[in-house]
Symmetry: C2
Subunit: 221 residues, 2 copies
DNA sequence: ACTTATTTTTAGGCTTGTCTAAAAATAAAT
DNA sequence: ATTTATTTTTAGACAAGCCTAAAAATAAGT
């Protein structure tokens, strides 16, 4: 049984995970910045996480998560992203608003809760920001996501997210039934302004500007 | 703006609320028992809650929540019961399992989250245990709930909960479509065994034993 | 009423997670 | 290569929330 970690520990683990995506090794100062705390506090916690085997840590030389640390991080991220999906998809939150609340919900560790939530939501693969949701083993699906503007012609795809958070765009898109889960394909690409013509499963079609097509992330089927 | 309280403070407030339903004034020992902690710890926290105006407290004489303390308690209980409803109604948890998880979810204070959850669930008035859910002002609806066994003949009512948690009973009931929200009325009461004959809106009818009718809580319409 | 038992509070200590200030290690600069 | 600047760690302190042990207040028993 993997032990339970405190909320503070989980936040450190998650931050380290994100920072180590950007560089080989994470520094004390970078983590202090990210967590809005002081370097001395970071060192304290690093020692604890290292003692618990979650961290590869050489004093003064930087650190990364161990294999176990990574596993823990991915389960936290799984919870975070599933809750974000829930908030947007079921509770009608806007994309900008969900992060803060998901930061709290992610610390509820009940595996049963998370797996049932996952099933309830239909096993979503991407959160509303388009970031992939790890499965219950912490694996991230290899499946790629790309902007609608790059989708090959006549390739069926499903909308996984919209990057741009401007509520004007959001309400426009939802008025056209362009929401997470919508299936469509690109029928034409107009070279003079890079606008695209899309077609829904129900045969309806619509033209979108390059900017809008860039903001919409899709998942080829 | 009412301040935010720590998880520990919220748990104290909630426990005091429940204990003061049972007796005029709450004692240090009773609360220590309820929270599975020691009397000395209780006294410490009582001083804090009293300083924050949440408690009417006379040292050595017992305590109760102040008006403000009561308001806070009811909002915590609202969150707890809404999440319980969500877990059972949406995520298919069994009634026995939900309490523990709801104990964690109840501490997420976002008002927006709670009110949206409430709307999403259809503004339920009772949680799966049959306890009333306070509204967003902390008011508990006066509406009465009673066991199906006591429902007057030909009185329309809606099922709000099932008290008995035996899973055999639960699966029997759900196989007969007797779930939270089901509408029915009692057509006949058989005096020799106190069994009752119920009728659904769709005219189907069914006979239930006294024990089963006792376990089903309903809300007259 | 006065002793005994119970309850509650105080006193002091421990852990977690934070902080500031100072010391030590590493990196940069002349 | 040696001084200077930066980064990281150590040392010591503090708040929240818990604990045990002892003291004080209240309640019960004769």
């Amino acid at each position: 049984m993997s032990p339970n970690y405190s909320v503070a520990e989980e936040n450190y683990i998650k931050s380290i995970y994100h920072l180590q995506q950007l560089s080989e090794s994470v520094s004390t100062n970078a983590l202090a910045d990210h967590l809005k705390s002081r370097p001395a506090s970071i060192t304290d916690m690093l020692k604890k996480l290292h003692a618990k085997g979650l961290l590869n840590y050489n004093p003064y030389k930087g650190f990364r998560l161990s294999r176990e640390g990574n596993k823990v991080a991915l389960l936290i991220i799984r919870r975070h992203r599933l809750w974000e999906f829930f908030l947007v998809d079921q509770l009608q939150f806007n994309w900008e608003e969900v992060h803060e609340v998901a930061e709290e919900l992610e610390h509820i560790r009940s595996k049963k809760l998370v797996d049932k939530l996952d099933a309830f939501l239909g096993f979503p693969k991407f959160d509303p920001h388009g970031d992939p949701i790890p499965d219950n083993n912490g694996k991230i699906s290899a499946q790629q996501q790309l902007p609608l503007s790059n989708l090959p012609l006549n390739q069926q795809a499903v909308i996984t997210s919209v990057q741009n958070q401007a509520s004007e765009l959001l309400s426009f898109l939802s008025s056209q039934n362009i929401i997470i889960g919508t299936r469509l394909e690109v029928k034409r690409r107009l070279s003079f302004d890079n606008s695209i013509e899309i077609k829904f499963k129900n045969k309806q079609s619509l033209t979108l500007s390059e900017q809008v097509a860039n903001a919409i992330q899709v998942n080829p089927l």
